[in-house]
């Protein structure tokens, strides 16, 4: 069973994905199974345990600020869904 407060519509909205009615029904049930399984973690005693974000200690890495050649405008725009005058074209954002 999914947690009673799992709101698929709300989360899909946060994730910026439209779901069809069929997807909502299917994903709701499937994610319910997964969340039910994940609840197993609640039985672990994690008191005083530090979280691990990376398996090995990572430190901030600084690099010298040396300019290097980057992508050409042509390469950077190569995969653009729509482009014009060396720019990405998008629908009007502000009125």
């Amino acid at each position: 069973m999914p947690p009673s407060d799992f709101n698929l519509d709300h989360v899909a909205n946060l994730a910026r994905i439209n779901l069809t009615a069929e997807e909502k029904a299917r994903f709701g049930a499937q994610l319910g199974d997964v969340l039910g399984y994940i609840a197993l973690l609640n039985e672990v005693n994690v008191e005083g345990v530090e979280p691990t974000a990376h398996a090995f200690h990572v430190v901030n890495v600084w690099a010298e600020d040396v300019p290097e050649p980057g992508l050409s405008v042509e390469d950077a725009l190569r995969n653009a869904p729509e482009k014009r005058d060396n720019m990405f074209v998008v629908p009007k954002v502000v009125e």
């Binding site: 779901l19 199974d33 973690l41 994690v46 691990t52």
Partner: protein, 490 residues
């Protein structure tokens, strides 16, 4: 050209190329011919570029003639379609990137090219490397060369199948929760996941950045070591790649073999319980018996948090994927919905149309576990469980040199068998996932076949950044077996 060439190892082929018994062009032609012959059935490749491959082969022959042969000179290496090769498609087996062309090379690609290897084809996978069967590919499922009705495993199913079917001499894949080792096991080839940070991830399409690692598929442990030696090493473009020297793996393995070292091998009792197929269990026990015959000390060890690994993984990996895949917004590259009317509409509709079901499910799950009010209950708790899982392994390594387990609980399953239940699919990774959470190196080597003729894999798990020992332990078993001589009846 005989099938012999298609089933030779890198070391055999390198010798023949070196002695001028064959040319790079002849080898590439044999690989192309084999791919044309079998890939209609296997479907390991999303695409391949024959003229480009032959041009690379000609350039390789010229380098050899000029006395400039690299360590992988003339060897065709397949690449999973999440690894960038400049000027070639990069789809991640997703509609989202169906028409994407890489503007640059991944670091591993640069290193393969610099070593003289021929970058060969774009290999199929589960969309964005999310899955264990390649059934989540938007462009069609790869078949297992040993039984075309079955899956090759995943997510790097195309890489494993291509090597198993003789369509590439070696291949690269990526492993986030078992995506190299599990398909290697199911297809009867060697698959190596290096320690996290050993190989640069620059130019690899990101799934879960704290877990992803690139590694080789090959026909032998020695071949996997050769490829690792080329792709490993620090890269200023990946701040998580480690500043550690890359040893000469081949020499290290040979020295360890000569020393006659008797390895202490740990057998985690939690990996041999419920859910393990009896034929897989028997093959792994037989492999352990071989280690005993070699004079290795076999010890039972305990990894008490094993049963929480899949749960912790599906919180951490989905959280990271929800963040990484936010970049697919339909603005600068990737699929853009034709129906989008405004900026928000571009996001909602492009992502709805561009992503497949499993990717959507994981983004949604990851978004949920990171969302306000749930972070501590899910994500933070999972990270703490990750600490405990990692500690289990490090505790075990105080007693043993390496840990030996089955790679996957079952041999290759039928297409469609687990498609309706994501959870059943996730549990297929139960023996491989802990290794990613702990950042350890792991390898799958063939250890037998079921009565029905399906390959079985043995997983050897090593200590952080001690790939030489890991490879030596795997090689010690491989040397006593002849599974490699079997070929799928394609």
């Amino acid at each position: 050209m005989s099938e012999e060439l298609n089933y030779s190892t890198i070391s055999e082929l390198s010798g023949r190329l070196h002695r001028r018994e064959i040319s790079s062009v002849e080898l590439m032609q044999a690989v192309i011919a084999r791919t044309r012959e079998v890939d209609g059935r296997v479907r390991a490749f999303n695409s391949f570029d024959e003229p480009d491959a032959l041009a690379q082969a000609r350039a390789s022959d010229e380098r050899r003639a000029a006395g400039k042969a690299g360590p992988l000179e003339g060897i065709p290496v397949g690449l999973k379609d999440v690894i960038s090769v400049a000027g070639q498609p990069l789809t991640a087996s997703s509609r989202m990137l169906e028409n994407f062309v890489s503007p640059y090379d991944a670091t591993v690609t640069c290193r393969l090219k610099a070593a003289g290897a021929l970058c060969w084809g774009r290999l199929n996978l589960d969309e964005f490397a999310m899955g264990s069967s390649t059934e989540n590919s938007a462009f069609g499922t790869t078949s297992n060369p040993w039984d075309l009705a079955r899956v090759p495993g995943g997510s790097s199913g195309g890489s494993a199948a291509a090597v198993a079917a003789g369509e590439a001499v070696a291949a690269l894949g990526s492993d986030t929760g078992g995506s190299i080792r599990q398909p290697a096991a199911l297809c009867g080839v060697v698959g190596l996941k290096p320690s996290y940070g050993r190989v640069s991830r620059y130019g690899l399409i990101a799934f879960a950045s704290s877990l992803d690692q690139i590694g080789p598929f090959a026909r032998s442990v020695e071949d996997a070591a050769s490829v690792l030696g080329v792709i490993a090493g620090h890269d200023p473009r990946d701040s998580t790649s480690v500043r550690q020297d890359v040893p000469d793996y081949a020499r290290g393995i040979a020295e360890l073999a000569k020393s006659g070292r008797r390895w202490k091998i740990g057998i985690p009792k939690e990996y041999f319980g419920e859910g393990l197929d009896p034929e897989v269990g028997a093959a792994v026990q037989a492999a352990i018996a071989e280690y005993r015959k070699l004079g290795c000390e076999i010890r039972e060890v305990s990894l008490p948090h094993t049963k929480y690994a899949v749960g912790a993984y599906y919180i951490i990996a989905t959280a990271e994927c929800s963040s990484n895949l936010a970049r697919y917004d339909g603005v600068r590259y990737g699929h853009r919905s034709k129906d989008a009317r405004d900026a928000l509409d571009i996001y909602f509709k492009s992502r709805a149309e561009g992503f497949g079901a499993e990717v959507k499910r994981r983004i949604i799950l990851g978004t949920y576990v990171l969302s306000s009010g749930y972070y501590d209950a899910y994500y933070l708790r999972a990270q703490k469980v990750r600490t405990l899982i990692r500690r289990d392994f490090l505790d075990a390594y105080r007693e043993v040199d390496a840990i030996v387990t089955p790679t996957a609980p079952t041999p290759a399953f039928l297409k469609g068998e687990k498609a309706a239940s994501p959870l059943a699919m996730y549990l297929n990774d139960i023996y491989t996932i802990g290794v990613n959470l702990a950042g350890l190196p792991g390898i799958s080597v063939p250890c037998g076949f079921t009565k029905a003729g399906l390959p079985i894999g043995l997983q050897v798990i090593g200590q952080p950044f001690r790939e030489t020992e890991l490879l030596a332990v795997a090689r010690a078993y491989e040397e006593r077996s002849d599974w490699r001589t079997r070929r799928p009846g394609l």
